[in-house]
């Protein structure tokens, strides 16, 4: 008889969202990052490349800007263009709790 009850059923992994900041060069390659290594490097690079692409496209469309804010339902990406790249901040959006009284 086991003294400690163990649960051997496999629970689905709760997907975490990358948080932190990272810098990318003009091609979207990651230069430095505070994003946990738990998250695949390819995912962070993909975010960086998409953001850099947005900045580049805006310039071509004669709509240049220096700060980008992308708001998803539960996530926020803020990117600031820097000389030769960008710094990108990733943060989950806080959930608004509605209380009834």
């Amino acid at each position: 008889m086991d003294l400690v009850r163990t649960d051997r059923t496999v629970k689905p992994e709760v997907k975490r969202l990358p948080t932190g900041s990272f810098t990318v060069d003009a091609r979207g390659e990651v230069i430095s990052s505070t994003v946990s290594q738990v998250f695949p490097e390819a995912l962070v690079r993909d975010i960086g490349q998409r953001i850099v692409h947005v900045f580049d496209g805006a310039r071509r469309a004669q709509l240049p800007f220096s700060e980008l804010v992308v708001q998803y339902a539960s996530y926020k990406i803020v990117a600031r263009e820097m000389r030769g790249g960008a710094i990108i901040f990733l943060s989950p959006k806080p959930v608004r709790m509605v209380s009834s009284s």
Partner: protein
Amino acid sequence: MASRHKILLLDDDEQILELYQELLQNLPSQPEVTVSSSGARAIALLETEPFTLLITDLRMPKMDGLQVLAIVRRKYPELRLIVLTGVLDEEYRSRAYALGVDLFWQKPSSSEEFQFFKDCIESFLGRETAEEGGFRGMQSKSLVDLIQLECLSQSSTVLRITQGGMEGKIWLQDGQITDAVAGDLNGEAAFKEILSWKSGSFELLPADPTHARMIAVSSQGLLLDSAQALDEGRGPYADTPGAAGTTPAPSALAPLVRFEGVDFLLTVPPSGDGERESWGLENTKEVSAWVWDTQKRLRELGDKLGVGGLAQVSGFGLNRHWAFANSDQKGLLCAGFRRAVPKDKVDQTMKLMFGKWIS
């Protein structure tokens, strides 16, 4: 644009000429910029080739700017004129306007002022194909044009307009139309009445910051409303020519134009192709293609991350801000905002506009 606009820049300071030549050549419309360091040479150049716009300094040796203006206004009535001077003197300003200059501009001293200046020049060039007007004795200029330029340069002044026995006044404070009077009318009604006058003369009086604000809507919205009324030939404007240089918003966008600080509007249908509607945007095709591609890429990213739908995307720049939001049913709404609009206001206004649009 079929041909590039030509600008003649006149200043006795070579460094200023170099600086402004480079600045103007990099405008979106990429005008050809010719420089002259003397009034005599400028006049000689005007005789040999046609120019769209003359930008001149006032204080110059031998022939000063006012002398040049007096000659060129008479000889080249179609030429648009801008005074660019380091001297802010009401007398010079009044004299220059009396000679028929389109704008009197103090030499910019900050990046913001440079940007305003560039916006203004671009606006001038963009309106070159405008209809002939005839207000204030200056061909190709309407009162709407004049007020737009005063708004664009964030002027504080009082415009006194007379037409026959009628007199009207429009108060501008920091580029915003704050009040108007015309006969017994005041506020918006007076403003629209004044804009319906076909011709007349005007005088720029000193600003009156203590005058109470009676017009609450944005200047852009008010001008657009008035211009639409002129174009549609309704109400008191039925017999007036169209508002030169002011593009009325498509009907679906008209209610959105009135939001404070809106600079341009663009809608893209849900499929991404098909008919787009835009207002205040010169390069609709390029911007709509970019906006569509951007929302597609960011939505893909959202799906990949599993973070829910793309709610809103905003960009903040030195020249202007913009934001867009997307609805599967209705498509995409993108709005540009003047750079003076704070970030949180862009966010808030875009939400309101998008809600109004999809409803």
